[in-house]
C-alpha cells in the first residue's frame, strides 16, 4: 500500500536539503499535521561509546517560522565524564533517549535553516 505523506512546504524543503547533506539518507516520520520527526546519521566524537548514531528531531508544521529544538540521541549511548548540562537522559516517544538541548538563540526564519543547526550540533558532539 502506498502511503501519501503530507508535509508543509517548509518541512519538505528542509528534508530535501538534509537528504542532499546525508549520504546515508534521512529517516522521516510525518507527525500528522504537516511536520515530521526527522532522523539523520551523525558522527560522534571520541568521548562517545559509539562512533556514529542517529540524531532525531521534530520539525513542526510551521517550520521555519518555528526553530528546530531539541535533538535526541539513542539512550543506549554513553559518554566519558564529564556529562555536560546540555545532555539529559529522558523518555521521549516511549523510548529512552538523550536530549541534546542546544538552542539557536537568534533563529531568523528568513535566513536560518535546520541544516545549519545540524552542522553546529554535529560539531559540538564531535568535541
Amino acid at each position: 500500500m502506498n502511503t501519501v505523506v503530507a508535509l508543509s512546504p517548509g518541512v519538505a524543503e528542509a528534508v530535501q536539503e538534509l537528504e542532499g547533506f546525508s549520504s546515508e539518507g534521512v529517516g522521516l516520520e510525518p507527525d500528522g499535521s504537516g511536520g515530521a520527526y526527522v532522523t539523520i546519521p551523525i558522527e560522534l566524537g571520541p568521548s562517545w561509546s559509539a562512533g556514529a548514531a542517529p540524531l532525531t528531531f521534530h520539525l513542526p508544521f510551521n517550520y521555519p517560522a518555528a526553530s528546530p529544538y531539541p535533538y535526541y540521541l539513542p539512550g543506549n549511548l554513553n559518554l566519558a565524564d564529564p556529562w555536560p548540562p546540555a545532555l539529559q537522559r529522558i523518555q521521549w516517544r516511549n523510548q529512552n533517549v538523550i536530549q541534546v538541548s542546544l538552542r539557536h538563540n537568534n533563529w531568523d526564519p528568513h535566513r536560518d535553516r535546520v541544516l545549519g543547526c545540524i552542522l553546529q550540533v554535529k560539531e559540538w558532539l564531535q568535541r
Binding site: T3, V5, G25, G27, G32, P54, F61, N62, H110
Partner: protein, 482 residues
C-alpha cells in the same frame, strides 16, 4: 463578478500617479494574486507598476496606450509569478461615476486575447479609475469577460470604489445615535461586514459584545476552549453554570450576541486558527480581531492579513512579575496589522522558540524544562481586557466607516500604572516572507500563498524512509509486519 483589493499604501501611490494637476490620463499595471475564499473571487494587488511617459504613450487607436514591450515584459512576469494582470488608467474628469469607454473596450478586444496567452493561466483585466469611482472588466481563460464589481482599498480608512455611487440607506432606530456620528452609509458598511474574532475569552468576548452593539452583520468567533471557573471574572456573558457544565466559549458568545441583536448572523467555530479549514474561513472575513495568547495563532493570523489583505488588530494584556511575585509592569497592547505595513514578524512579535514550544507535546515540554522552572500562570484582569477591546473595536469602527488617520495604525502600548500611551511605528522588512516586497513573500498571493497551518494527514501517519537508511530508524522495530 470579481473584486480587486489593494493596500491603502499602494492605492495612495497609484492615486497620486493617476490624478495630477494637469488632468491628463496616466497609466499603471497591477499584477495580482487571487483569493477564492471570499464571497466574490477577489484579486489582490501584489505589484503596482506606475508607467512613465515612455511606457504609457500616445495611442495608435485611442488617446493613450500601454507600450507593447511593457505589456510583454509584465505579462511574462505575471506568468512566472502565477499572477493576473490588470491594465489601469485614469479618467481624470470622472468623479463618482465611471465607465470603460468604447475605445477602452475595443483595445481590450484587440489586446487581451494575446495577453491571456502571455500571462498563461492568470486572468487579465482593464480598470479605469475616477476620483471616487472605478469600473473595469476581467477576462479569464475560457470564460466570457465579466464586469469588475468594485475596488476595495484596505488602508487606515478603508474605502470602496464602484462604477456608480451607492444609494442612501435608512438606519434602524436602534443605531440612530451612533449613525449621527458616521452616517447611514457607515452603518450600512458595518451591517455588510463580516468580522472574525479569534479567541472568545476575556478580550475576545468584550470585542464580540461591542461588535454586536455596533450592529455588524456577520460575526465569526473562533475558540476551542470551554468556560472554567477562573474565566468568570473576565468572559462577558459567562455564568457559574457555564463553568460547571464546561460550556464552549463560542456558545456563550452566541447567546451574548443573540440577546443584544438576534438578527446578527453569528457563526461560532469550535476550532483552532492553526487548522487549515478554520484559517480559510477566517480569510473570508472583512476584518480580524486576534484575541488569543498563543504565538502559533499570531503567526497564522499575520499570514492571513498579508496573503489575503484582511486588516487585523491584535490585542493583549500583560502583567510582568519579578521573581518574588512583585509587579514589574502592567501594560495593554493594541496592534493593528494591515497589508502594506510592517507585520508582527517584522516587529519581533513572533518568537521562533515560542512556536517550537507550542508545537511540542506536554511530555516534550516537560522534558525540555530540565531546569524544573515552575509553571507561571499569567495574571489576567478584566479592566485591562476592557481597555484593549474598546480601543481596538474603536479603531475597527473608524476604519470601516472611513474616519481613521494613518497614524491610527501605529502599535500602541498602554501603561496601566501611569495611564500613559506609547506609540510604535513598525517598518516592513523587505525580505519578510509575509509582508515583504520579494518574490517569496506571501503578500497578495491569496489562495496560492502558504499559510503556516496544520495540514491534513492520512490516517494513520506511517514512518517512511529511504531504504538505504532503514537500519537507523529507531521506530522501525515497531512497524507492523506485512
Amino acid at each position: 463578478m470579481s473584486a480587486l483589493r489593494i493596500s491603502g499604501k499602494d492605492y495612495a501611490a497609484l492615486n497620486r500617479h493617476l490624478f495630477r494637476p494637469d488632468r491628463d490620463e496616466y497609466g499603471a499595471v497591477i499584477l495580482a494574486g487571487r483569493s477564492d475564499v471570499r464571497e466574490l473571487p477577489t484579486f489582490l494587488a501584489r505589484e503596482v507598476h506606475l508607467l512613465d511617459e515612455t511606457e504609457f504613450t500616445a495611442g495608435e487607436y485611442g488617446y493613450r496606450q500601454i507600450a507593447p514591450h511593457v505589456l510583454a515584459k509584465l505579462g511574462n512576469r505575471a506568468a512566472e509569478q502565477k499572477l493576473s494582470l490588470f491594465t489601469c488608467h485614469s479618467h481624470p474628469t470622472a468623479t463618482d461615476r465611471n465607465r470603460l469607454s468604447v475605445p477602452d473596450l475595443e483595445a481590450h478586444e484587440r489586446v487581451f486575447p494575446h495577453l491571456l496567452d502571455i500571462v498563461d493561466g492568470g486572468a487579465v483585466g482593464g480598470i479605469t479609475f475616477g476620483l471616487e469611482s472605478a469600473a473595469g472588466e476581467i477576462w479569464a481563460p475560457d470564460a466570457e469577460p465579466q464586469a469588475l464589481s468594485h475596488v476595495d482599498i484596505v488602508g487606515a480608512s478603508s474605502d470602496q470604489l464602484f462604477p456608480d455611487p451607492r444609494h442612501d440607506v435608512e438606519t434602524d432606530l436602534r443605531f440612530d445615535r451612533q449613525a449621527r456620528m458616521f452616517g447611514a452609509e457607515g452603518q450600512a458598511k458595518l451591517r455588510n461586514s463580516t468580522i472574525a474574532v479569534i479567541g472568545a475569552g476575556g478580550g475576545g468576548s468584550m470585542v464580540i459584545e461591542q461588535l454586536a452593539h455596533l450592529g455588524v452583520g456577520r460575526l465569526l468567533a473562533v475558540d476551542y476552549d470551554v468556560v472554567k471557573t477562573h474565566n468568570l471574572s473576565r468572559v462577558m456573558g459567562a455564568t457559574p453554570e457555564d463553568a460547571t457544565h464546561g460550556r464552549k466559549k463560542v456558545d456563550v458568545a452566541r447567546d451574548l450576541v443573540s440577546r443584544i441583536d438576534p438578527t446578527i448572523d453569528f457563526q461560532g467555530i469550535d476550532g483552532d486558527l492553526a487548522d487549515g479549514p478554520v484559517a480559510q474561513r477566517v480569510a473570508s472575513a472583512d476584518f480580524i480581531f486576534l484575541c488569543t495568547d498563543t504565538i502559533t495563532s499570531r503567526l497564522v493570523a499575520n499570514a492571513i492579513v498579508h496573503a489575503h489583505f484582511i486588516p487585523m488588530i491584535q490585542i493583549g494584556a500583560k502583567v510582568d512579575l519579578l521573581n518574588k511575585g512583585a509587579i514589574e509592569s502592567i501594560y495593554v497592547a493594541v496592534r493593528p496589522v494591515f497589508p502594506g505595513r510592517g507585520c508582527l514578524a517584522c516587529a519581533g512579535l513572533i518568537d521562533p522558540t515560542a512556536l517550537q514550544r507550542e508545537a511540542a507535546t506536554d511530555e516534550e515540554r516537560q522534558a525540555q524544562n530540565y531546569l524544573n522552572l515552575p509553571e507561571v500562570i499569567d495574571p489576567s484582569v478584566v479592566t485591562l481586557n476592557g481597555v484593549a477591546a474598546s480601543v481596538a473595536t474603536n479603531l475597527m469602527l473608524m476604519n470601516i466607516v472611513g474616519l481613521a488617520d494613518d497614524e491610527y495604525l501605529d502599535h500602541r502600548l498602554f501603561d496601566a500604572q501611569t495611564g500613559n500611551w506609547l506609540s510604535l511605528k513598525v517598518q516592513s522588512d523587505l525580505g519578510c516572507r509575509w509582508c515583504g516586497s520579494n518574490d517569496k513573500s506571501a503578500f497578495g498571493l491569496g489562495s496560492s500563498a502558504w499559510l503556516p497551518v496544520r495540514i491534513g494527514e492520512p490516517d494513520p501517519p506511517a514512518p517512511v524512509a529511504s531504504s538505504r537508511f532503514a537500519r537507523w530508524l529507531p521506530w522501525r522495530r515497531k512497524r507492523p509486519s506485512r
